[in-house]
């Protein structure tokens, strides 16, 4: 597990990753903005620092078929979220070197059709049999149809004892 790095050392190490544009500290959580991130270089840096990959979030874009991809690393005392975006609907796979990336990438491929070239086992993880990739992509890009204000009585009535 990670050595207890000083926040300044950690920030400097993150800024040195190729493609990183900025590092922001928001109440102890670090947000790294890196649209052109070199993901393998990020994985190597995090492995050197002893910081584990927690999970990967994908947010599909409606307009161009791309997606924002956020790598959430955890050093036990804080979460470090590295935000990048796909290029031609793909990002290099981290799974050959990072086991925790394997299921996360397979799930994102199933749900949003983001490709991860180099994945050692790119078979469906949670996609139902007979359904194409991008199970949720279109529906997630569509604006919410039920965007009303909350009307639950619990939201306005005093707490019960």
């Amino acid at each position: 597990m990670s050595a207890d790095l000083a926040p300044r050392q950690l920030t400097e190490a993150l800024q040195a990753i190729p493609g990183v544009r900025s590092v922001t500290d928001d109440n102890g959580a670090l947000w790294v903005d890196a649209p052109l991130l070199e993901v393998e270089a990020m994985a190597a840096t995090m492995a050197d620092l002893g910081i584990r990959l927690g999970t990967v979030t994908a947010i599909p874009h409606a307009e161009d078929g791309e997606a924002t991809v956020i790598y959430h690393y955890i050093d036990e005392h804080r979460v470090i979220s590295v935000k990048t975006r796909t290029r031609n609907g793909a990002l290099p796979s981290l799974a050959p070197t990072v086991r925790a990336a394997s299921w996360a990438e397979r799930e994102i491929r199933d749900l949003f059709a983001v490709e991860f070239p180099g994945h050692p086992n790119p078979v469906p993880l949670i996609r139902p049999e007979g359904i194409d990739t991008a199970t949720l992509r279109e529906a997630m890009c569509r604006p919410a149809a039920v965007a009303r204000k909350p009307v639950s009585p619990l939201a306005t009535y005093p707490a019960r004892s």
């Binding site: 584990r52 959430h72 036990e76 086991r99 949720l136 939201a155």
Partner: protein, 359 residues
Amino acid sequence: MPYSFPLGPYHPALEEPFKVKVQCRGEVIDSATVEVGFSFRGIELLAQKRNWVEVITLIERVCGICSNTHAMTFCMAAETIAGIEIPKRAAHIRTIIAELERLHSHLLWAGVGAEDIGFHSLFMEVFSLRELVMDTLEAISGNRVNYGMNCIGGVHRDIPDPMRYLPALDALSKGLAEIVIPTFTENPTALARTRGVGRLSREQAVEWAVVGPVARASGLDIDVRKDQPYLSYAALGFESVTRPEGDVLARVVVRALEMVESIRLIREALLSLPAGPLRATEGLPEIPVGEATIRTEAPRGEAFYYVASEGGATPARVKIRTPSFVNIPAIEAMVTGQPLADLSIIQASVDPCISCTDR
């Protein structure tokens, strides 16, 4: 001659549908592949189509065992985006419910584990103890599964008479100390089925990035309650439990000792319940544009939420990474080289929650 054996997706040894496909040589497992996805409901998508109050109800149904963890973690994410600090009394009540949930989850696991090794009388003992926890949860929240305690900014219900629950905790402590812990750690039948079985070394635990009791049973001292304290854990003085052996017995012992610590935390929280309001705000606050990542320690380990808001009536994105999602793949490492007959208890020792994993 090598042969393959499918356990699941539906099998008496599994509580929920998932599949462990093993390749065997004689009695010994050569390799394994885990398959999930049989309970996929698309909850992350549905969460974007409901308003902030409805999402709490939806998220509470990610899992039927750690339901409170999910609703609580989601509320904590919304509170972080909105810059809300919940009142101390609400934090204590959330802690009490979270630890009661851990108790009932660990007791459920202990009962299932006992059943998986054919120890039916232990199953009955464990489940009668679990009823004490379920009764307590029902008395506080009115519910046995989805407690509906959390709202953005605090909790819905008070605990007006905290002393009322102390006798149940005493009875639970006694049952754990006199029956459950000695039986799992001293009974020859239980030891024969758990000691040295399904090892996951410390190095493997790091490699597979496991969390929760599975990680702590392999010597990794990681626990969100200690590493990044939230709610009232810092004030109550939490101590984590680890074991170095990495086998099924170590996972049993970690969960058993965690239950003792949970009872202590609940008792301390009940005795020191601060006066004050249950919510930071009346009604639902506006959730402004922003994003937050939140970690909490669910019964099975670290639950991780990423929530984004565009300032609208619904969340813009809710990403849920449950502890089982990272623990279940490690079953492949645990069962390799083990007898086929131990497959059932090894996969059960992870306490896999498929409903959580598939969402």
